[in-house]
Amino acid sequence: MRHETERLWALAADELPLEDLRYVQLHLDDCPECRDALEAVHLARRTLNAARGSTPAVVWGPTDAKVGALVEKRLRAVSRPRWVPALTGALLVAAAGVVAVVAWPGPGPVEVPPTQPPLVEVVVPRPARVEMARGLTRVAANLEPVASGMTLGTGDVLKTGVAGKAFVRLPDASHLRLSAATQVALTRAEERDIALTVSRGRVAVRASHQSRQSFVVHAGDVVIQVMGTIFSVSNEPEGVEVAVSEGAVQVVAGESRRLEVRAGQRLFVDGRTGRARTGRLTPVIEQELGEVQGLAEAVTSAEQQAVVAAPGGSAPGRVSALPRLSVEEARARVVEPLEGATAPLPGASPPPSPVAAPAAPPQGVVTAAAPGEPERWEGPGTLFPSLAGGAFRGVPAFRDEGASAPAPQRSAPAPEGPTSEEGDWAALPKPGAEVAGPKLNDEHEPQKAAPLVTEVAPASAEKAPSPVEKAAAPGEKASAQKPQPRSLEQLFLEKAEASLEKGGCERFLAGLEDIALDGTEPAQVARVLRARCYETALRPRQAMAEYAKYLEAFPKGRFADEARAALGR
């Protein structure tokens, strides 16, 4: 029976040699069963032929973005050593500038004198600029690669590749994040008038609070009118999606429909039917919005520090590069320490240390020199010098972890999925980075997490510096009476740890990964914070993978016990 079927298939597929063909045909004439079998084979082949051309409906937009993000991550990991030294240098340079501002003794919070001329008057418009770029091109006669620091203008059309991603600062100090496989046109990029057209892909926007004529985003037939807010717009063949994490936007869909999308809402307008549906923000969107917010805050913080640090708000050589600040923002610039973490000791007068770690808080912290004290600001561009270079640790990093970090992992190697391929098939080179952690023990209770990042409380002579502080200034005999200038990494780690309780730790995952890959002391903390964040988010598989990575990198690290306990070892 088996060989009959084989030859019948071969007959139907024209695979039979001529001599066999004659033999089979003769046999078929005398064998009704074989004719029935041949009919079954023909039926099977007809069905196969009909099915051969069917193509599954894949929503390529999100898949493109996921693949792009993973490719970017992979290539970034490969090329990391090339820019690590540059980043280290940039951080050290940043230290000098920031220490001058943060560590200088002052009487505490200082309000900007109301008599000070409003900064609005001294601001010079600044063109749109690419803050970070990877796989970014400008669509012209040919695709021109766009690098970080390049200025843009009205009419420029930007396109990111499948592995691309970019951050752009707009003339009104708003910030734009382009996801992979995105094309967006700066239809109008003026100081008081912004219009963007999203042809495909997704952009996340952190609109500034500047007064302006209009800020609109066009995506297909949908128009989004913006006030100060944080939102994203995606334009895919299936429809347009608008998601808001802060504030609200007005969406005009169709001829007369005007909808308001508020914080935490997501609106999807079907591209074919025009039907609108609402939903909640997805982790991927939250991640992207968090990234653009983090970057915007970091840049704005750096710029504002420059303004406040300069007497009368005019740092030489810096003013022309400042964003335009509103009167309200100028008045609101009450200088306060960051959640009790940056308050200098009363009476302490630490001199600025040339070896101190960089300390520019990524969250809009505004500090000022004490009245009457000499200005410690060292000049323009030293707070975040790495921004223009395209790398900045601490700020939500220049990577897209939408798929790997906060997004639900539904890929084949699911929690119950196989962890290895069968040996019969020749295995391709196995990734070294993949960690097959042990299966989740559902009854496993994560250990009570010990605080990883110790807040720099008003220092006392008795209090020993935290491990993170030690890591920030190894070998330096820190005076217990002097506040330790904290690095960007410390600030970021503190924020990340705080977010474990407050919620929203997902937005720190990318930055933590960035720090964790360096293999330094803060990398231990970063890796464990990632694991705890995943535990908090009830994603144990990812948490175990993080713990496994930790043990791989730091088998004798100070969190090794916690990691082993989590992994059940």
């Binding site: 088996r2 060989h3 009959e4 079927t5 084989e6 030859r7 298939w9 071969a10 597929a13 024209d14 695979e15 040699p17 066999d20 046999h27 064998c31 074989c34 079954a40 084979v41 039926l43 099977a44 069905t47 196969l48 009909a50 099915a51 051969r52 051309g53 069917s54 193509t55 599954p56 409906a57 894949v58 929503v59 898949t63 693949v67 993973l70 490719v71 992979r74 290539l75 490969v78 090329s79 990877r134 796989g135 590749g161 499948v162 592995a163 691309g164 539904r410 890929s411 084949a412 190697p413 699911a414 999925g417 196989p418 391929e421 069968e422 098939w425 020749a426 295995a427 391709l428 080179p429």
Partner: protein
């Protein structure tokens, strides 16, 4: 029919690929080896439809297809440094596909509760609705019949009958010998024919 007296039929080899396409893919591979992300993007655009269709037939599932495509390209990126041009790039790509699909099939077959998942939706561009409906019905039947095959037989059968690969290339793609492939293919044909006949009878019955 005295089967022993007749040798096993010869199988149709893989049609030769378009030289330009293959050369273009190989150039892209060279660039990817130098960490050129844009080259990978181009390769992705060139091959993603084929990969999606192949994975669709290999696994018969739509719900996880985007994840499978994603997994395939991640593995491909890792594997490309080991590609030395000893086979066609398409064969190399199918090898990655088969590894991903096999892993998924074995995992999924341990989760039979997922059987209630909806059958995939298909896109039938440029065909009339009647033909599209026939195609959808045929695809549904084929995938149900393929579900009766073992994972290895299914891969070999799909590569030969739906992807048009010859046994030599399939052997490279799945890392087995020519004779193993041929044996699996013939066995799969037998099982598939049986399953299809039974399915059609079920469809005919009220």
């Amino acid at each position: 029919m005295p089967a022993e007296t007749v040798p096993l039929p010869r199988l149709v080899p893989t049609p030769l690929p378009g030289g330009q396409v293959e050369a273009r893919l190989l150039r892209l591979v060279d660039r990817i080896k130098n960490d050129d992300a844009l080259a990978f993007e181009e390769l992705y655009r060139l091959t993603r439809d084929d990969v999606a269709r192949t994975l669709f037939h290999l696994t018969g599932r739509r719900n996880d297809l985007d994840d499978l495509v994603q997994e395939t390209y991640v593995r491909l990126l890792r594997a490309i440094p080991a590609f030395r041009g000893e086979s066609q790039f398409r064969t190399f790509l199918y090898r990655v596909c088969s590894n991903v699909a096999l892993m998924h099939l074995r995992w999924w077959r341990r989760r039979r509760e997922d059987l209630s998942d909806e059958l995939p939706e298909q896109v039938f561009g440029g065909v009339d609705p009647e033909r599209a409906a026939q195609q959808a019905q045929a695809t549904r039947l084929v995938h149900r019949a393929l579900d009766t095959l073992s994972a290895k037989k299914r891969v070999v059968f799909v590569y030969h009958e739906l992807c048009g690969m010859g046994p030599e290339d399939i052997a490279q793609a799945v890392g087995s010998s020519y004779n193993t492939v041929r044996s699996r293919l013939h066995s799969a044909r037998l099982d598939f024919t049986k399953a299809m006949k039974a399915l059609v009878q079920l469809e005919v019955q009220p």
